[in-house]
């Protein structure tokens, strides 16, 4: 008896203590809610929105583990474990696909934002109202060209028989180049067209951020005799850092998801180029076009999500340790 009681006592005590803590915490939440009720109310539409349109449909992730049948609903469909994931590695290309996807995304993120920052700075330092107006608008134009139409144009430029590019080479007396059978070339072409299409968009973000920088900083720098390069280096760039880091973090989470249309439209059926241009999304699309099995589609999505999730949690944790300001959450 005696030997038991010391152990039993804390065990009896524990619930009480927890209860108190719980009460205190509950009170804390209530207090917080009351104190910041306006803020909570202002956030409410957002909370409800994502609850309905994002969290509620997430139930569908369960499809990844079931076999679909028209006579069953989602919940009484047979549970089949990881069978739906099999097709991902069956063709033996999963590693390659994963690497391709990540590689392209890294290039897109860094080159995309780097160039956007570069152009935004140039534009912000230039004068000439009309010049700026027109060039900015022109840079936004590619954003409106859908990839379907872009692919038609690209084919017209690069095709071997009567493409623009090859006609030019011949008229200069050079050998024709069969662009569509050179997989390595397409790494650059795809990155190029991604940049071409998206720089205008990203540039606006940085332009808006630069606009927000207080001009007092620049005036002070001018008085100190800083030249234009120093001003950009010491004032503009550091001010853009937080925006860049946030966008970077944001993009990391979807590093396994690709620009499906870009790849699918530009490469299409050309198996010769798949080694360097196939990403997970195009693979999944092609594989499931015939069966269109939602279990397998969901499984592929889940694979991409899990990867992104782990990555972003790790990176965000590290960033928060370094500088809380830059963390995403």
């Amino acid at each position: 008896m005696n030997r038991i009681s010391p152990a039993a006592a804390p065990m009896r005590m524990k619930p009480q203590k927890e209860n108190r803590l719980y009460l205190k915490k509950k009170k804390g939440i209530l207090q917080e809610l009351v104190k910041n009720r306006v803020l909570y109310l202002m956030l409410l539409p957002t909370i409800i929105f994502f609850l309905i349109f994002s969290y509620f449909p997430m139930i569908g992730i369960y499809y990844a583990f079931t076999r679909f049948d028209f006579n069953t609903t989602m919940f009484n469909a047979p549970f089949i474990g990881l069978e739906n994931f099999e097709f991902l590695w069956k063709s033996g290309t999963l590693t390659k696909l994963t690497l391709n996807t990540i590689g392209y995304n890294i290039a897109f993120i860094f080159l995309g934002h780097g160039l956007a920052i570069f152009v935004a700075i140039l534009l912000s330092e230039l004068s000439g109202k009309w010049f700026k107006k027109i060039t900015q608008s022109v840079m936004f134009l590619p954003y409106f060209v859908s990839f379907v139409i872009l692919s038609v144009i690209v084919y017209n430029i690069f095709n071997y028989d009567n493409g623009f590019f090859n006609s030019m080479l011949t008229s200069f007396g050079m050998e024709k180049v069969d662009v569509y059978s050179k997989p390595v070339l397409w790494i650059f072409l795809i990155i190029f067209f991604f940049l071409w299409k998206n720089i205008g968009y990203n540039m606006v973000i940085y332009l808006a951020t630069i606009t927000g920088i207080s001009s007092e900083y620049y005036e002070a720098a001018q008085i100190d005799g800083a030249n234009i390069f120093q001003r950009i280096w010491y004032i503009t760039l550091p001010m853009l850092k937080s925006t860049f880091v946030v966008l970077l973090l944001f993009a990391l989470g979807s590093i396994m998801k690709g620009q499906f249309d870009l790849f699918y439209q530009l490469v299409g059926n050309n198996g010769l180029l798949y080694n360097t241009t196939d990403i997970i999304d195009t693979y999944v699309f092609r594989s499931l076009k015939v069966t269109f099995d939602m279990g397998m589609a969901t499984a592929a999505g889940l694979y991409q999500s899990l990867f992104g999730f782990v990555l972003i949690m790790t990176v965000n944790y590290i960033i928060r340790k370094i500088n809380d300001e830059y963390a995403l959450f």
Binding site: V38, P45, M296
Partner: protein, 525 residues
């Protein structure tokens, strides 16, 4: 001043929120509510039904889904139809169209999300058999005699048998007999001018192509686009395969269905691919054909190409009409593959049909209405050709469109009503005579379609099938386009990857199912 204003701010915000939420919910309810009301509402006017057996005391709205784009004047036709249907069946119908944008995805969604749809189009190319096998449609065997007895009599018994999946009827097939078999389409004027052979098989076709290439440098000998299977299909057709598209690298000859041949990796396949390689080297296949974005419309009227393979008689006639409108001095001709192979199966009954999805709430009314659509001349002609006088006229027995396709809001068969065509009521354009001529020619080679009745069940090898799809695109398509220098090596690589993806498992299972089908259907005899 702060406090009061803050209050009003909060109040404003809160009321805005509530309003927004209410509006959203209200909207939702409205959408659903209306339908429910229409569906359940007021059985006030019970009409004596035509087909006596079914209960039409309650007014219902049927949801009919068709593929493709809705014609501009659909609402006009719909309201005319509904006037009649309401009176005769106490039913109204909503004709819904999927458009061609992501139609396959939408088709799947419509069937799998439990929406109540009463009639939906089916075809071999919408995977009728697979859907039926997986339980997406309602079995109609018991319903037909009760709700659509006339239709049941009208459609021949062997048609009903042909659409059966696992012994049950899941779709109501069309009865219009047509041929969608392929053929060579070529510029006759050029063939005669340069004294080239008429293409009847691949050898004479090759001669024709080379002749064009030599003497008409500004015209492509043959038009091709990124769908390289079309060429392979032609090859298989000409080699008397049971279907141009026996999947998974197998081949089955028309004469001997019980014998499943291993095609991929075989000497025959290498021979086929070497032909493409040769054509590629000769410059007959465009170098970047896999990326070609050309959809192939207007190749003839624009004078781009001198031939196309694979067109069916109707398509050929369309192309001919279009070309003659611009260049009456040119001439287009057609050689069906059947003249060489002596095999010409007319369309299989599952090629066009309408099914009742599993979630339909009014299957009886749906069938009764569909019976009207097929057998009642008023319903049928209205939905096929539009309003007489507004959209078309009948001139000496021929269909004549009012205006042009640019001004007419309902051209011929604008509702894509291929499935409810009724041969007795059909009106044809004058140019149809050309097609009929080809059909008559094909009639002498008429043989039954032995392949399409087979319903494959790929549940057991779904993952392998998906993986194989990728391998095919990556390693086989370049071979189809003749872009791989060493064919043998290319085939070996392809086979290695295909086996890795599980080809053998697929083939074994597929062969098993196929042989069971051959046994059961008796097509081998």
């Amino acid at each position: 001043m702060g406090k009061k204003k803050r209050r009003s701010g909060v109040l404003l915000l809160a009321s805005l929120l509530i309003l927004a939420l209410l509006a959203a919910c209200g909207g939702g309810n409205n959408g659903g509510g209306n339908q429910a009301q229409e569906a359940n509402g007021a059985g006030e006017s019970p009409k004596p039904a035509d087909s006596a057996a079914i209960d039409t005391s309650k007014k219902v709205e049927l949801q009919l889904y068709m593929l493709g784009n809705a014609p501009k004047d659909l609402s006009m036709i719909e309201s005319e139809i509904n006037k009649m249907a309401e009176e005769e069946l106490n039913t109204t119908v909503k004709f819904n169209y999927t458009t061609w944008t992501d139609w396959d995805q939408k088709y799947k969604l419509l069937l799998s999300t439990g929406q109540s749809i009463d009639l939906i189009y089916t075809a071999d190319w919408t995977q009728y058999s697979s859907y039926a096998k997986k339980g997406a449609f309602m079995a109609l065997d018991d319903l037909l005699p009760k709700t659509a007895p006339e239709l049941q009599k009208f459609v021949p018994a062997d048609f009903w048998d042909a659409v059966k999946v696992d012994g049950k009827i899941y779709t109501m097939p069309a009865t219009y007999k047509e041929f969608v078999t392929g053929g060579f389409t070529y510029r006759k004027d050029l063939q005669e001018k340069h004294n080239l052979p008429v293409p009847t098989d691949l050898a004479s076709y090759e001669q024709f192509l080379l002749g064009i290439q030599k003497s008409e440098p500004n015209i492509l000998p043959v038009f091709m686009n990124s769908d390289m299977k079309a060429l392979h299909w032609t090859y298989m057709d000409l080699n008397k395969s049971i279907s141009s598209d026996v999947p998974y690298g197998l081949n089955i000859k028309y004469e001997d269905p019980a014998n499943v041949i291993q095609y991929w990796g075989s000497p025959e396949m290498i021979e086929e691919l070497k032909l493409y390689k040769k054509w590629q080297d000769l410059g007959l296949i465009p170098k970047n054909v896999l990326n070609s974005k050309d959809d192939g419309t207007d190749v003839f009227p624009s004078g781009k190409a001198a031939s196309v393979f694979g067109l069916n008689p109707t398509k050929y006639n369309d192309a001919k009409m279009k070309m003659e409108a611009v260049h009456p001095e040119w001439d287009l001709a057609y050689v069906p593959y059947a003249t060489t192979t002596k095999i010409a199966p007319p369309v299989h009954p599952i090629h066009n049909g309408f099914a009742v999805p599993k979630n339909s709430k009014n299957p009886e009314r749906a069938l009764a209405f569909y019976e009207k659509l097929v057998l009642d001349k008023r319903y049928n002609q209205l939905t096929q050709y539009g309003m007489e006088g507004t959209h078309y006229n009948v001139e000496s027995g021929y269909y004549k469109m009012v205006g042009t396709s640019n001004t007419n809001g309902f051209p011929r068969e604008a509702m894509n009503g291929w499935a409810w065509r009724n041969p007795e009521y059909m009106l044809f354009d004058k140019s149809y005579d050309n097609i009929q001529e080809i059909f008559d020619e094909l009639d002498q080679y008429q043989t039954p379609d032995k392949f399409l009745g087979f319903a494959e069940d790929f549940t057991a090898y779904q993952a392998e099938k998906a993986a194989l799809e990728q391998v095919e695109k990556q390693y086989l398509y370049p071979l189809y386009a003749g872009l791989v220098d060493d064919v043998e090596q290319g085939v070996a690589l392809f086979m290695e990857k295909a086996k890795q993806a599980g080809l053998e498992k697929i083939q074994t299972e597929y062969t098993k199912q196929w042989l069971a089908y051959v046994e059961e259907s008796g097509i081998a005899k």
